[in-house]
Symmetry: C2
């Protein structure tokens, strides 16, 4: 393995092209100009081998997932992403081929999301490969969305489809036969891909101010994260199982195997946006979905009280086993 | 150990008081308003137990060192620090007492440097305790200092005293009797303290634009870091041993034991500022030193060519064994 400077120059400096303030990663720190009347938005997430990903996961997908989980946090605050810093603690199991693929993954997502690498740190660890990414974005001043600002009677919306990453983890762990009966190989592949590489609606976040009253990204399970909106707002919430956005095979599965419904509503790694909006905005939300190309489902409503409930087709409570899922 | 949310609420949310955009660490991301006509400056550094610090180092000093090495990078670009994000990957060896002391360390330095915790991530690792900190600061637009912009004939300045952390590491490792003969217990304690807790001149950085033409912080050894200024500027550099700022006992040591001079000029962890300035600014630099209370020593000059030389009292070259010191 090359020395740190050579490694940075070869694999990472090309990712910093396009932002003058990254100084080709040669300076101590990076500069970012935030436009007038905008605020900086920043977030940080870490991933550890064996905890958040598996040692034989493809390095390009590890890189892209790390970036995307952070961009998802920016989107939840309505911020447009600008750039990121990376801490890369190598365990010694990563060779040049691994590094090249890892950097290639960042390059692909940089093109998709219009972000650049601004700086970081490369080091050795006697422990597992450990990654930390800090993402930086911008939002017009005063427009950032928060999670504790929903009002009673407002609708609850969820982007994309629910629970596919949680089910995909069963595939990844070789538990498909036991946990996901009757799904085809193609369906299982699709679920595993959803676990390996989330597809957060990064471009939708900046379009939500004016419509959404509260927002977060679902990373630790729908019901737990909805609890954050409800608790922060001093309210309760109701979600209807029949309104959850589920692929047909997932819907059949959760109807046949109740434990899988628990996985779908409490599992992690969805990285979809969960937001509230006043009922009079229903048409506007529908138009936003069409115009953005992001599916947005109305799944329930905010209520008085403090209970966060999941209701079946008859309006009866479905017990939710876990309050939320956590890597911690 | 408590769950992640409780742990954050108890130990870290108090560190986020004072910055509304940190949302008491309850949101997905944090907001920071950069003043008009200013740029954001950001940097990231990681520390791993057993590599960058020792398992029995006091947790408050680990926290403060992690923050200070990042603030040093901001200072080198003339930025004023504003806040930071923290990734805390706990190994399981850290109990509540450890966490409380760790958070207390951040609190102390937050008061000293006028920064707040903006956000972060808390997680578990099967490996060693791993810390990553991202620091955010601000600089008037166009005033950020860079490292590759020195000119031939300019003076080279160094703040503070050199090599004390590198020598202090010998104390920390129990090698004082062998490596640091004839120093008193009090002198050894002072060196060890310099290793454990650097004292970067954070307040000096924002005062350097208009005087300094190139700047960086010495973290990987004076001669190696001076090489970055020289190479980046397409120049050479000369440093005079007799002009190096050394404590009297360190000066006696390096004159008696030539290997210790190598440690002083090539060792890491100084976290002092190294900058260049035109000769006609000598009076202004001297006034800046007096006004800021930071010692600033003129140690050499930038030259034509590409050699970075250390000269003894007779003007002869002193061979420098290592190009620089690295944790990598």
């Amino acid at each position: 393995m090359e020395a740190e400077f050579d490694l940075i120059a070869r694999y990472f400096a090309p990712l910093a092209v396009g932002e003058r303030g990254a100084y080709a990663l040669l300076n101590d720190a990076a500069i970012l100009d935030v436009p007038a009347e905008h605020s900086l938005v920043t977030t940080l997430d870490s991933m550890v081998e064996g905890v958040h990903f598996l040692p034989d996961d493809p390095p390009d997908l590890i890189a892209r997932k790390l970036l995307r989980v952070n961009l998802s946090d920016l989107a939840a605050m309505a911020a447009r992403p600008r750039g990121y810093l990376l801490s890369l603690a190598l365990s010694g199991d990563q060779d040049e081929t691994w590094l090249e693929a890892f950097a290639t993954g960042f390059g692909r997502d940089q093109d998709i999301y219009d972000v650049v690498l601004l700086g970081g740190d490369t080091l050795r660890t006697p422990g597992p490969l450990t990654l930390t990414l800090t993402a930086l974005g911008e939002v017009p001043r005063g427009q950032a969305l928060q999670r504790g600002t929903a009002r009673a009677g407002e609708d609850i919306y969820l982007t994309g489809r629910l629970g596919e990453a949680a089910l995909g983890l069963f595939v990844r762990l070789g538990q498909a036969a036991e946990k996901l009966p009757d799904l085809t190989a193609g369906q299982l592949d699709r679920l595993e891909a959803a676990y390996r590489l989330p597809d957060p609606p990064v471009q939708l976040g900046p379009l939500l101010p004016g419509l959404a009253t509260a927002c977060l990204d679902v990373s630790d399970g729908l019901m737990g994260d909805l609890g954050h909106i409800a608790n922060g707002s001093g309210l309760g919430a109701e979600v209807e199982v029949t309104r959850l956005p589920l692929a047909p095979e997932v819907r059949r599965l959760v109807e046949a195997v109740p434990e899988r419904l628990q996985d779908v509503v409490s599992g992690g790694d969805d990285y979809q946006l969960l937001f509230t909006a006043p009922q009079e905005k229903r048409d506007a939300v529908e138009r936003l979905s069409g115009d953005s190309g992001v599916a947005i489902s109305r799944i329930g409503r905010m209520t008085q009280g403090d209970s966060v409930r999941l209701l079946d087709v008859q309006g009866r409570d479905v017990a939710v086993a876990q309050a939320g899922w956590t890597h911690f």
